[in-house]
Symmetry: C2
Subunit: 381 residues, 2 copies
DNA sequence: GTGTTTAGTCCATAATCTGTACATAATCCT
DNA sequence: AGGATTATGTACAGATTATGGACTAAACAC
């Protein structure tokens, strides 16, 4: 609990700018009068605030609207996608990715570079990432966008600006700095994928996003915001214990979920998820059994997760998305059986609406969110 | 995300009252000048805010203080324990409890009534609770305190004002109303015990409190506030899966922690925790084995909890407190082994600093917290 | 005692929101 | 077609609250 600072006139206005912008963002274009109604501020105040937001280029007027009623038609004020944008970046096992998202959360640019980052040299990869970022920002600026911040998704644990541990990259305690000359943040891939699902996929406000990648991670969204735990390490679903004396896991534990449902286990000697899917489609019994075992393990781990985290629903993403038809049954059965007497219904189990780009999108979206939450601070109003 | 309302002059002042009161609460008595420094407000503003707080009776002046320096000595302003207080209530399996806590978080009154509430009639118990509350409030008022709110701890899941399910009481969907004629809240026993530990025990800001009672619950505190999950059901440690095909649990699952470490299992045919402790002290091998098995199971469940919740530390409370000497080893070993490669150190494992009254105290403390967080709203300033 | 230093208050000023009045622009009704 | 009605958005005076410098108060230093 940091000592909070007192509120002065300028912070009151800053807050009200955020309130108005937030109302526009949450419930779509509105006239000034409607915004006054929504926020409890007077029309006068809203007009003045909207004037500032217009000048900053974060909103635009979209011509007259009649609400089908009598009276002078109002002018709808909506988020402007034409000026402010943010950059999302991702380092993953086999690619680098970047995307630019505008204030309306429309994806304006996407770039991916295949790479083999397993056990790679951080300095080298970060240099590649810098180049990718620079190129992408250049392209965005050529399209008239002003990129005002960036975030990076990494497959590992993050503290502040340091990547603590990314086992599949083989990185440890890597400080990630100067990737871009903008406000910058790093976060875990599963966390940002969850936010990607929030803003670009399911658009629910409460769910646990399960990110099946080489490792298995999860990001919990409650009331539209991410739960991070004490050190930002929450949601490590992959090492939840499924069988206490099961096979050893690289984490030091035994019988972790990852041992049963990690991508390496799922694929076996196959070389891609697509290959596994086609085996499953052709009814290959060994593939089906692997999937069933993974689904069973997921059901056990998710039962523990439901008890501890109390998610609104469960969204399976990443490699679990193409495998969903084969996983759904075992997972749902496990949840239902184990949660029978604790809840009226277990949380709904659904498939992700986003693809493999959930994390990059979430990264860009996180900075958009920051603009909308504190426009005065970010844009210097 | 509810549409947030705009800020007006009165909310600015309300916020600043909270900021000043919060600063006094957080870092002890301060002069007006020091408060100005801490909050970033001017001395003038702080003086005016403090005047309001004095009038409301939530702070008092405590005579001159010299900071060992030259110059006019200031007057320390500190929380006043003499006027405002709150009521904590608890329904547990074998007793009803009440306590009154003043603004300085000093316990002013405690009352306990033994009862046998297993499979009891809610209406009857609630009537008893009403009487206990009324008596306790009367006594507090006789001592010059003004009780301005109450909270109730129950051994079950809560939604709004309704107790959804309290298996050990045998209650389901009981609306708890009109217990007192004051602002009122209900919450889960483990949640409130965690808050009790926060304010009356360990006083750490980040920990997972594990409440060993008939059931096993947990409350996660992050940055000094409680994580509740989506529906307020988070922290159900007792039903985290320890052995996926273990013995059936009353929740519908199998091999839940509660089966191995619930009070009923620990005691076996013994009739009290004290009896178990004396068996353990005399080296009874069967008691030791039970404890070791429970510790082992706790280690497994807590490993999952650490991965999912990322607690700052782990505090064992309730019946686990007297058993701590026998549990510590197996639990810590389990955590250390299973978390070896994931974190530099597993979260510290410590014993609770509060006794069986953690939950009632937490209940009273929660309302105190509300006064300090929003004094203007609560006290009508 | 006189000077220095720090605490707390007074008062004019500034920032921001409110509320009423008003100009504007559409539909409704005759 | 024209006036009545209704709703939007702006203007301006008024209210609320914080600021900042001047001032008073109370201690210590020499």
């Amino acid at each position: 609990m940091v000592a909070s600072r007192g509120v002065r006139h300028d912070s009151m206005r800053a807050r009200n700018l955020a309130v108005v912008l937030g109302a526009i963002h949450r419930s779509g274009p509105h006239t000034r009068a409607a915004l006054a109604e929504l926020t409890g501020l007077t029309k006068t105040t809203v007009s003045s605030l909207v004037a500032d937001l217009l000048e900053a280029g974060v909103v635009t007027e979209r011509g007259a609207v009649r609400d089908g009623e009598r009276g002078r038609p109002g002018v709808a004020v909506s988020l402007s996608g034409h000026r402010v944008a943010t950059l999302g970046l991702e380092i993953n096992i086999d690619y680098l990715a970047a995307c630019v998202v505008d204030l309306t959360r429309t994806v304006r640019l996407r770039r991916t570079r295949p790479a083999d980052n397993r056990n790679s040299d951080p300095a080298h990869i970060l240099q590649e990432l810098r180049e990718l970022a620079k190129e992408t920002i250049g392209e965005a600026e050529a399209a008239g966008l002003r990129v005002i911040g960036a975030a990076l998704a990494v497959p590992g644990t993050v503290e502040g600006e340091t990547l603590r541990s990314a086992p599949h990259l083989g990185w440890r305690d890597v400080r990630v700095t100067d990737v871009v000359d903008l406000p910058f943040a790093i976060d875990n891939e599963a966390n940002l994928a969850a936010l990607g699902e929030l803003w670009f996929g399911a658009r629910e406000t409460d769910f646990l996003y399960v990110s099946g990648e080489i490792g298995v991670g999860a990001g919990l969204v409650v009331a539209g915001s991410l739960f991070r735990g004490t050190f930002g390490l929450a949601g490590e679903l992959g090492h939840v214990v499924v069988v206490p004396d099961g096979p050893a896991c690289r984490c030091g534990g035994r019988g972790c979920l990852e041992v049963y449902a990690g991508q390496d286990t799922l694929l076996g000697e196959l070389d891609s998820v697509a290959a596994l899917v086609s085996r499953l489609e052709s009814g290959d019994p060994r593939a089906q059994e692997t999937c069933e075992r993974a689904g069973h393990a997921l059901g056990v781990a998710l039962t523990s997760a439901v008890h501890l985290l109390d998610p609104g629903m469960i969204v399976l993403g990443g490699v679990f998305k193409p495998l969903f038809p084969w996983l759904e049954g075992p997972v749902a059965d496990g949840l239902e059986a184990r949660l029978a007497h604790m809840r009226d219904d277990p949380p709904a189990l659904v498939v992700s609406q986003t693809g493999p780009d959930a994390a990059v999108l979430g990264a860009a979206g996180m900075i958009i969110q920051r603009i909308i939450a504190e426009p005065a601070e970010v844009l210097g109003l």
